[in-house]
Structures are given as C-alpha cells and as structure tokens.
C-alpha cells in the first residue's frame, strides 16, 4: 500500500476562542476523488485553507506527499494545485498571460511552460480562447481558466473550492469532464461543493462536515446505504394549521414558501408510513395538499439526515 498523498491529523483551528475546525483527521490515497461536503459555516474553507498552507492551524498536522505543510510549506505546495472559489484572475490580461504568470510562480519557463499552457487550455476546452482578454470571458470560461491555472504545474493533488458555482450547464459539464480525466490519470482530487449530485457522481469518497467536525466518511453509495432515507416533499396550500405544522416539524421537516403553496421537505427512514400519516392528518384537517413527491435516497438525504439542514442552508 502506498503512503497517503494527503494526511490530516487532529487539525484544529480556533478564531478568538471560537472553534472553526476541531480534531479533523483523514487521509487521501493517490487517485482518490474526495468530496468535502457541509453546510455553510461547517469549516470546509478553513480546512481547505489549512491544507493549502494559506492558514496556520492552531494545532494538528497536514502532510502532502509526506512533506509537512507547516514545517516545509514551500516544498509541500509544489505538490498542490489550488482552484479557489473566487475568480482569482487578472481581467486585463489574456487567458494565456494569466497562465504564464501563475506558471512562472511554479518555476515553469520557456518551452515547458508553453507546452503546459497549450495542454491545460486544451484540457479545459479553451484552446481557441487563450489569447482573449479575460474581461471578455463568460463566467463559465473564467471557471475553466481558474481550473487550468490549478493544473498548470501538474500537481499530484488538486484542491477545488466550489469549481462549478455560477456557471451554465455547458461549462459545468466541461469542468466535470476535465476532473474525470484528471482522476483517471491518477491525480488526487479534493473537491468542495454545494452540488451534491456532482459529489455523488464524481467522488469516490465523501466526507460530510458539520460544525467543524466530520460526521460521515465513506463512498457515496455506502453513505446513502447507511444514512440515506427517502426524501418526502409536500406542497401544502396555506394557511397550514398548527397541528399539521407541529406534526411535520416532529418529522424533521423544514419548509419554505413556493409560489402558490408552502413546501415541506423531510427525510424519512420509513417514507411510506410517514407519508400516509401526514396525508391522513391533512385530510382530517381539510388541508389541500397540492403536490407530493417521494424521492429516492441520495447524498442530499444523507446530508439532511446527518446535519438536519439542506446543503444550501
């Protein structure tokens, strides 16, 4: 068995006494596609920043390819490619000029740099657009260029923070395809996303974080099997009587208004039984149920079960 590419041990970060990440321990093998999931404020970005060497941990260790990020950050960073959530680009420069700048930071010059730029532009499907000013790029193109910069120096580990936020379906598809190609070539990918279906289809392993701690760790299929449950979605015409509201809350439902109804959503281990009880109560209270959906267990339902919140909360 080879040594882990990323090894995180008892990683903790506190800000003015507030714990953001607590005793985080996990490791990633070579070629793993690892999804880091969690609601806002769960500590995902703090974790990514500590792994990338941008933030000093309060305690604990991070090793990239056996090199300590705390003791030898410059050596450890050579193995990392970071794709931040922000468009960390220079709009006044062309895509190729942006790549040239970041490539040089990693010690790439001359023909090697030119070849790598051509390769990554091809990989993110921007080959014909490299000479254009980034200010003329669409959000999707910027996201792809963002990814290309992270891949430029051919790192062993690629860390992506929400790489598909705010892009159209075409660009999202292009990004996911690029990531699949990378995973197939043996790169280790740490992927942080709000789009759970992306994690479910792309990641070989996911970790769910909540309040700075890991609450689940495993392959998507194992987590769905272990923690997943049916997801029930009901659209009820307002006003919703208190009795029904309390009953739904007891079942763990959260609600939000839709155009003509109040939408309730909750995960259930026994969806048929719970649905029947809600529907009979609604009928008894003469409440109009506009729509009912019974969804299959997914990472979304796992997430809901484990954190009590939707990933977009």
């Amino acid at each position: 068995m080879t040594a882990p590419v990323i090894m995180v041990n008892d990683l903790t970060k506190t800000y003015d006494g507030v714990v953001a990440v607590k005793d985080l321990t996990f490791s990633l093998e070579r070629g793993e596609s690892f999804g880091l999931l969690g609601p806002n404020g769960a500590g995902k970005t703090t974790t990514i920043n500590m792994i990338s060497g941008l933030l000093k941990p309060t305690s604990g260790t991070v090793q990239i390819n056996g090199i300590s990020m705390i003791d030898q950050p410059l050596q450890a960073k050579i193995n990392l490619g970071l794709v931040p959530q922000e468009f960390a680009l220079y709009p006044a420069l062309s895509g190729r000029e942006n790549l040239t700048f970041f490539g040089r930071l990693y010690g790439l010059w001359g023909q090697t740099l030119k070849k790598r730029i051509a390769y990554v532009l091809h990989m993110v499907r921007l080959s014909g657009r490299g000479g254009m000013s980034v200010s003329t790029y669409s959000n999707g193109m910027k996201r792809r260029l963002n990814l290309a910069i992270g891949l430029l120096h051919d790192p062993a580990v690629i860390i992506l923070d929400e790489p598909t936020v705010g892009v159209d379906a075409h660009s999202r598809h292009a990004i996911i395809r690029s990531l699949e190609d990378l995973a197939a070539s043996g790169k280790t990918i740490l992927f942080c996303t709000h789009h759970l279906w992306e994690a479910e289809t792309f990641c070989s392993r996911v970790v769910i974080m909540d309040s700075g701690k890991i609450v689940a760790d495993g392959t998507p299929s194992r987590l769905i099997q272990e923690f997943g449950s049916g997801l029930i979605r009901l659209d009820i015409a307002p006003p919703v009587p208190d009795e029904l509201l309390n009953n739904l809350k007891r079942l763990g439902a959260f609600h939000y208004p839709s155009e003509t109804a109040v939408r309730f959503q909750f995960a259930s281990a026994e969806p048929n039984r719970d649905l029947e009880s809600v529907l009979s109560l609604s009928a008894g209270l003469q409440v109009s149920v506009r729509a009912v959906q019974l969804l299959e267990p997914t990472l979304e339902t796992v997430f809901l079960n484990l954190t009590g919140r939707s990933v977009r909360d």
Binding site: N49, S52, G53, L54, L55, P73, L74, Q75, K77, I78, L80, L82, P84, Q85, E86, F87, A88, L89, Y90, F102, L105, Y106, G107, I149
Partner: protein, 416 residues
C-alpha cells in the same frame, strides 16, 4: 421620468449611502482630510501671506564689519522698516561672517547682510570722487532659497542702503561746496538721521553671494527649485496605485492564489514592490532629464543624485506598503494614500518653502521624508555637494522607509 425611476434613484442612493456608512473609517478620513488640509496649508502658507509684515517680519542676520558709522545708520533704517527684522547678535555676541555663513548654510536664516570694513570709507570716496566705485553691500543667501521670496527682500534692502548712501553723497558734496564758500560743514546744519531723501540714481551695488563651498554660479532658477520639489511630490504618489493593487488582489482572491504557490511572503512582497520601485526611479530620472534638457538645470554630482533617488524610491514604496497594510478597503486606501501623499508634501515644503512656515511647522517638516529628500536634492543641485555630504539625507530617507516597512509588516494581513 416616472415615479418608478425616482424610486429607483432613491433605492440606489440609499444603497450607496449604506455602503458608505458601513465603511466608517473611510468616511472619517473623507472628513478628516479636508480638515487637515485646511489646518496644515493654512499654517504652512501663513508665512507666504504674512511674511514681510509687521507681525511676521523677515529676519536677516547682520554682519557689520564697517569701521565707520554708515552701516549702523543703514541698520537703523532697516530696523524701522516694518517688514524686516535685523538680527544683530546671537547669544549676546555680534555676528561674524563665518557664523552667518553657517546659519544660512544650515537654513536657520534665509539671508544675511554683510557690510565690509571699508564700507563707510567707500561711500565717502564715492561721494566726492567721480572715479570711485559704487559702494558694495553683500547679501549672503542660501542658493535653495525661493527667489520669489527673496526678490522683495533684496529690493527693500537695496532701497534702504541706496537711500542712505545717496543722502550721504549729496551732503558730502554740499559740505564740500559750502566749505569752499567758507560756510560751516553741512552736517552741523542738518541732522543726518532726518528722514528726508535726496537720493536718486544708483547709490550702491547689492551683491548676492552664497555660503563658502557653494559655487558662485549656483544661483538657482525657478525650475531648479521646482523640479526636485515636484519630483518628490510625484514619487510619493506611487503610494496610491501600489496600495490599491494590493487590496484588489486580496479581494479578488489572486493574492491567496499566489500564496498557494511555493513562494515565500518575502518574495511575494519584493515581487510586488519591485515594479513600483523601478517606476519611481524612471519617474525621477525623467523629471530631472526634462529639467536638464528643456530648462538647462544643473544636476550636480550624478552619483549623489542616483544615491538619493534610490533611497527616496525605497521610502515611497515603504509608505505605499504601509498604506496597503493599514487600509482595509479601497476607499480607505484612497483616502489614506491621498492624505499621506499630499499632507506630507505640504508639511515637507514641497508646495511652499519650509522657511516661510511658522517655526513649529518648520520643526514638524523635518519629521517628513519629503523635507530630507528636498534638502538632499538642493544640496546636490544648488549647493554643489556630493555623496560625502548627502549620505546623511540618504540614511534618513532609508530610515523613514525602514520605519514604514516595519509598520507595514506588523500590520499586513496576507489573508483577508
């Protein structure tokens, strides 16, 4: 324009105001800046508007070596002139030429008037002999003194001296004629200190000289005085683009991305500052070249000029980094940048010469790098000094720069 449009305008205005109110520090600077300007510029310009008045006379050192009494009489005339104050003694002792040279060179006084030992005698000879030369009075000035300030002083001094010389000359001529006619000498009939004037024509020559060691051809032109001052002013304006560049990169995440690369923070800062440093040097070189080519200004010792310019650019970059470290938003950086670039320039004597400022402002001006840079450039260009003398200003500029860097590195946050 319909009602909806007005509501939209209101909504946008409210949003803008809310954003402004959220950045209280920037808002405070916005108000503090004009207040500082009013205070500082009013104090600094007080000298320009009030110098040469009764309340704020121009001080001139007197070096009286005259064996006769003419210099005394002229000095009394000068003392009665509202806009001038004649300093006859320092620490209870009459002022020698060496002492005057030292004080003028050190810019403690802007000018000194010197009467030679044979001044009275030369007037006597001039009064009766057509072949005698015009009496001379020496005016010792610092070559870096603003000529606009000195011109009226010179004119006033010359007028007072001429008046007295011409009066004496006419009286001597009358006396000579009266004695030929067997009448008593005129000075027994008329008190010489009476203020009537018989003066007309050229009574004396006022020779402008510089302290010892300064080339006699070192009389500065307006360009020679302005080029260094406005170069320094311009160099410190690098603070704005430099600091704004930092905050933009921090906000758009590219700064973090750079830090995720195998690069030390020190390397990052050097890489960021280097282009601005070079820009400052090019800017300085261009300013002096324009002055030299178009206005034929004297540049002095080039090696000293380069040495001082290198230190000046380092200092300006340090200030830029400090502003980048202290400002949390682009608005704050804009306000801080303008504040430091303009207020320090005003205090440092870039807009008005420091010597016309009140004494307290003159003292404060030495706490700005601008004043030391200007003093250095004047030493090189106008006083003909070189590396041996200008190293002091260079060290001081580097110390200012070092101080700014220390504050910057202490307060700088690499991550937001």
């Amino acid at each position: 324009m319909g009602f909806t449009a007005y509501r939209q305008i209101a909504a946008i205005a409210i949003k803008e105001l809310t954003l402004l109110l959220k950045d209280l520090q920037a808002l405070a600077l916005l108000f503090a800046m004009p207040v500082f300007f009013i205070l500082i510029m009013s104090f600094a310009l007080q000298g320009v508007f009030e110098s040469g008045t009764k309340d704020r006379p121009i001080e001139i050192l007197l070096v009286n070596q005259d064996a006769g009494r003419m210099a005394d009489l002229i000095t009394k005339d000068m003392a009665s002139f509202n806009g001038l104050k004649i300093v006859k003694e320092i620490d209870g002792k009459p002022i020698s030429r060496d002492v005057a040279e030292r004080f003028v060179k050190e810019r403690k006084w802007a000018a000194s008037i010197i009467f030679d030992q044979d001044f009275s005698q030369s007037i006597s000879e001039y009064a009766v002999s057509a072949g005698a030369g015009i009496p001379r009075v020496w005016m010792l000035i610092d070559p870096a003194t603003n000529s606009q300030f000195l011109a009226p002083v010179q004119a006033a001094v010359k007028a007072i001296v001429e008046r007295r010389v011409m009066m004496f000359r006419q009286m001597e001529r009358f006396s000579h004629r009266f004695s030929e006619m067997g009448m008593p000498p005129l000075n027994q009939l008329i008190d010489q200190e009476d203020s009537f004037s018989l003066a007309q024509g050229h009574g004396c020559r006022l020779e402008v000289i510089f302290p010892h060691g300064v080339p006699l051809n070192a009389r500065p032109t307006a360009t020679e005085q302005n080029v260094p001052a406005y170069t320094i002013f311009g160099v410190f304006f690098i603070v704005l683009p430099l600091a704004t560049g930092f905050i933009r990169e921090k906000q758009d995440g590219s700064f973090q991305r750079i830090l995720a690369a195998p690069i030390s923070k020190c390397t990052l800062l050097i890489g960021k500052l280097l282009p601005y440093y070079l820009l400052n040097l090019i800017q300085t070189g261009l300013m002096f070249t324009v002055g030299w080519v178009l206005f034929n200004i004297q540049l002095g010792q080039i090696s000293a000029l380069i040495m001082l310019s290198l230190a000046l650019a380092a200092c300006a970059n340090g200030l830029g980094l400090m502003v980048a470290a202290l400002g949390k938003t682009e608005a704050q950086i804009g306000a801080l940048g303008v504040f430091f670039a303009i207020v320090l320039s005003a205090l440092g004597g870039m807009m008005v010469p420091a010597f016309v400022m009140p004494e307290i402002m003159q003292t404060i001006s030495w706490f700005t790098p601008h004043a030391w840079a200007l003093s250095g450039y004047h030493d090189i260009m106008l006083r003909g000094l070189g590396v041996d003398e200008v190293w002091k200003q260079t060290i001081l500029l580097l110390s200012f720069g070092g101080f700014f860097f220390v504050i910057a590195l202490w307060r700088f946050r690499f991550t937001e």
